[in-house]
């Protein structure tokens, strides 16, 4: 048997082939994302779900109607693409005047809805889809065995990618598309119906995802979650390649697949994280991405913040009222619920510090919650530290992680920032899955609560409640002070107009990094305390869905408002507790709330309530606030 660098040649080539297959899917999906983004400025988070929908539809057609692979290859992209047309026409079209992030949030919600619905209907386990008879078997190439179907996938995806590239870069239609991206008004003036063109582009992008799904059906297990993890890797691919060029996404997709394959052959432990390591390196040396020509333009936001209108005195009074309510709550509410909700509220407030006031919306905040949980759990269990030291250790770990990931992530802003943080969080997830001290799938169990300062026994319910209450209130108070401080003012100024802040001599990157690190540390504080309180630390807290939950809490309660995240956290935790019997429907509900928040409820509960209050109050002139939470950015479509 031939060996290459200590690895059998057949294994190496096998892994490279597998990498090429994965790369084919990365390429097709990141290509679709790039086309949609270029045209509509929407990061289509639902892309993974639409890919999954493609595979599921193919499976359904086969199972229930007996329609085979070749017909599916034709029909499924048309069907799923048509759903994309409707989605664009009736939902996404309302978002073009808003910040790009709303598009990402909305499609994230849609992805949750799709995934939840299909899990309800068909269960979460994967279904096999057999290879069509024509492509069974394979051939021996001498150095390796090449299954026919895999050869077909690579050939077909190359064909699809290159055709798309050709259409966009080399044909008249593509020229119109590109011109419409640059200057919709002008193209409109030439008699081209831009809105319809955008609708068709989105439909085509979605169809492309579905086509990838059909191609993938015989290779991977067909199941409702097959798109979720994939889309995160595709985001990393997009950050690596830069969203600037079509060819760039194709090349990067295949490249990343090959790198993964190589890693699997030589150092399998790293194979699931290598993409993210590559992303970190690229961010360090070429922040705009390998093929990105220019860094994205800073967007100028406009948002009305709660903190601007309430005086420090009112805030302090509100804070004291909340403290009193929460202290008395165990008399009427189940204390376990209160503690859980308070810790999530702290997490959401920490997230809001950077997302609401710094306007850097992270999609990966779970990494801080989860890491701190593991570290404090480990410290309490294996090192025998007292709870306050264990919590401190967890918080410090989260702060360090925040410093490192923030240092890389703040090189990009807006949607790229969201994708970078999401990708880093996924890397931490894989580390947590594999690292020896996290307990893998089982997590850390039976973490001792111990004695606070060696004196106060936390296994007594009243003590534990007091401990959690003190941490929540302390964390909240700190955030309240920071938001109202000169530093907080600078942070809000930077999120309004970064360039202007720089021209006033403020090193904006440093401010953002400190705010991000602080937010990470406070998220860690919540996670560490949660581990001690609940006595477990599991993968749930580092999973991307947890990052989604904190987004949900914050946006539902009111992003950029002081008390909004608290309200949002209580609502979401209550939903989980009391609607637990609904199972996967809770995910559908979460997704629906996301969609509604973005479409009609952008200020969140607290934001809308305080607006109503202000409108109600005597001074009518004071109500002349800008209507949307974030300013119109760019408008690809005409009216």
């Amino acid at each position: 048997m031939t060996m290459i660098l200590g690895v059998p040649a057949a294994v190496l080539f096998g892994q490279l082939l597998l990498g090429l297959i994965n790369g084919a899917f990365y390429a097709m999906l990141s290509l679709g994302l790039a086309v949609i983004f270029g045209m509509m400025n929407i990061v289509n988070f639902a892309h993974g779900a639409q890919y999954m929908l493609g595979a599921m539809t193919a499976w359904l057609l086969l199972t229930y109607l007996g329609i085979g692979y070749w017909w599916a290859l034709l029909l499924v992209p048309l069907m799923v693409g048509a759903s994309g047309l409707l989605l664009e026409r009736f939902v996404l079209r309302r978002l073009y005047r808003l910040d790009h992030l709303y598009g990402m949030l909305l499609t994230f919600g849609l992805a949750l809805v799709l995934q939840g619905l299909l899990t309800n209907a068909f269960g979460s386990s994967g279904q096999p889809y057999s290879i069509p008879a024509e492509l069974m078997g394979g051939r021996n190439l001498g150095f390796m065995f090449l299954p026919n179907y895999r050869a077909w996938v690579i050939a077909a995806s190359l064909l699809v990618c290159l055709t798309t590239w050709y259409v966009i870069e080399r044909t008249r239609l593509g020229a119109y598309l590109r011109a419409a991206t640059e200057n919709p008004m002008l193209v409109q003036a030439f008699g081209i119906r831009v809105p319809r063109m955008i609708m068709l582009t989105y439909g085509a992008g979605v169809g492309l995802a579905a086509l990838a799904g059909v191609l993938a059906a015989p290779v991977y297990q067909v199941g409702p979650t097959m798109g979720a993890d994939l889309i995160i890797v595709v985001f990393a691919v997009v950050v690596i390649g830069g969203m600037g060029s079509i060819m760039g996404s194709i090349v990067t997709g295949f490249l990343v697949g090959l790198i993964e394959g190589l890693t699997k052959a030589f150092y399998p432990e790293l194979s699931s994280t290598v993409v993210f390591v590559v992303m970190a390196v690229v961010l360090m040396v070429r922040p705009a991405g390998l093929f990105g020509s220019k860094p994205e333009q800073a967007q100028n936001h406009r948002q009305v913040l709660d903190g601007a209108s309430t005086s420090p005195r009112t805030q302090t009074i509100q804070f004291l009222v909340m403290a009193a309510l929460f202290a008395a709550a165990p008399l009427v509410v189940y204390p376990g619920f209160m503690m859980k909700a308070m810790l999530f509220a702290l997490f959401a407030c920490a997230f809001n510090l950077i997302a609401g006031y710094g306007k850097l919306v992270s999609f990966g905040h779970a990494m801080f919650l989860g890491t701190a949980g593991y570290v404090s759990g480990h410290a309490a269990k294996s090192w025998g530290l007292t709870p306050e030291l264990a919590v401190l250790a967890g918080t410090a770990a989260a702060a360090l992680l925040g410093l490192a990931s923030g240092w890389l992530a703040i090189r990009r802003s807006g949607i790229y920032f969201a994708m970078v943080t999401l990708a880093f969080a996924q890397m931490i997830y894989f580390v947590a899955l594999q690292a020896p001290f996290t307990g893998g799938e089982d997590g850390l169990q039976a973490i001792p609560r111990g004695h606070l300062f060696g004196l106060i026994d936390l296994s007594r319910p009243a003590n534990l409640y007091g401990f959690v209450l003190a941490i929540f209130l302390g964390g909240f108070y700190l955030i309240m002070r920071v938001v109202g401080s000169p530093f907080g003012l600078v942070l809000r100024g930077i999120s309004d107009h970064e360039t202007r802040a720089q021209s006033l001599g403020l090193e904006t990157e440093r401010f953002k990094l400190v705010a991000f690190t602080l937010s990470a540390a406070l998220s860690g504080l919540a996670g560490a305390t949660k581990a001690i309180t609940s006595q477990i630390a599991t993968l749930v807290d580092v999973h991307w869905s947890m990052s989604g939950e904190v987004l949900l809490m914050t946006f539902l309660g009111g992003v950029g408002t002081l008390f909004g995240p608290v309200v949002g956290a209580f609502v979401v935790v209550a939903m989980q507790n009391y609607l637990a019997a609904l199972g996967q429907w809770v995910i559908v509900l979460h997704g629906t709330i996301f969609v509604l928040c973005v479409l009609i409820f952008r200020r969140g509960i607290v934001g809308e309530a305080s607006l109503l209050l202000r409108r109600w109050s005597a001074r009518p002139a004071a109500a002349a606030h800008p209507a949307a939470a974030l300013t119109p950015h760019r408008q690809p479509a005409g009216h």
């Binding site: 420090p312 401080s485 100024g493 309004d496 720089q502």
Partner: protein, 251 residues
């Protein structure tokens, strides 16, 4: 380099994908003077400003401030040296109140920008300076309005006030009169002349009356290059300048 020059550019160029917005420009801003850059739309005036303040990096060439090479500095670093600019498209912090806009500018010089726990309202010196600026720029009655809700003219005035809050030694103003009514123009002209005492000012302006009123020297830019330079009367009389400015000339 000569320390008598507030800002100096040496064969400065900036290219955007093969197109030179600024090409091989040698330019001197004399200390203590008020100078103006004029030129037709797209001549590269704003790009020159962006280069001089390091908002964008030059493709080639050097920049000196008071004799020091500052080509490698960042925009905040230059601002700390006292080189501050305003923007052609009015740049205010829209979600902050007018007063907060001024306070924000005052924080750094007061050394409070990194205060994470204090209260902005608790800083006496900053509050007093903000009050003085509000009064001087007649922004008192809208002090508590959100800057994003101001009229265009008010925004420009606020931007100027914010810029001046830093007590800059070198001030670069990109079309400070754009969008202002006649009355405001008169007032802002007076203001600029007033603050020009003891400072160096460079402005881009399309309003020739303002330029004639204020500027000691003018520089005419056309297509990324400097066409003419000198006192207003002398330069504005040149036939090639008139031709370039009215867009009738071809060279």
């Amino acid at each position: 380099m000569d320390a008598g020059h507030a800002l100096q550019a040496k064969s400065l160029s900036r290219e955007f994908g093969g197109f030179f917005a600024v090409r091989d420009v040698d330019f001197t801003l004399h200390r203590g003077s008020i100078q103006a850059v004029i030129g037709p739309n797209g001549a590269g005036k704003s790009t020159l400003f962006n280069l001089l303040t390091k908002h964008i990096a030059p493709s080639s060439g050097e920049i000196f401030h008071e004799g020091d090479d500052v080509t490698g500095l960042s925009m905040p670093a230059l601002a700390k040296r006292g080189v501050v600019r305003s923007f052609q498209i009015s740049a205010v912090f829209a979600s902050l109140t007018v007063r907060q806009n001024l306070e924000l500018a005052l924080l750094r010089p007061a050394g409070s920008a990194w205060d994470l726990l204090g209260r902005v309202t608790g800083k006496r010196a900053i509050a007093e300076r903000a009050d003085a600026l509000l009064e001087r720029f007649e922004l008192g009655e809208c002090a508590e309005s959100l800057a994003g809700n101001l009229s265009y003219g008010r925004k420009r005035v606020l931007e100027l006030a914010t810029t001046l809050a830093l007590e800059p030694r070198v001030l670069l103003l990109d079309e400070p009169m754009a969008g202002l009514g006649r009355e405001d123009i008169g007032r802002v002209t007076d203001l600029i002349r007033e603050v020009g005492e003891g400072r160096t000012i460079l402005l881009v302006e399309h309003n020739m009356k303002v330029v004639a009123d204020l500027a000691d020297r003018i520089t005419v830019m056309v297509r990324g290059r400097i066409l003419a330079e000198g006192p207003y009367d002398e330069v504005s009389a040149r036939a090639d300048v008139v031709a370039a400015y009215t867009g009738q000339g071809h060279d």
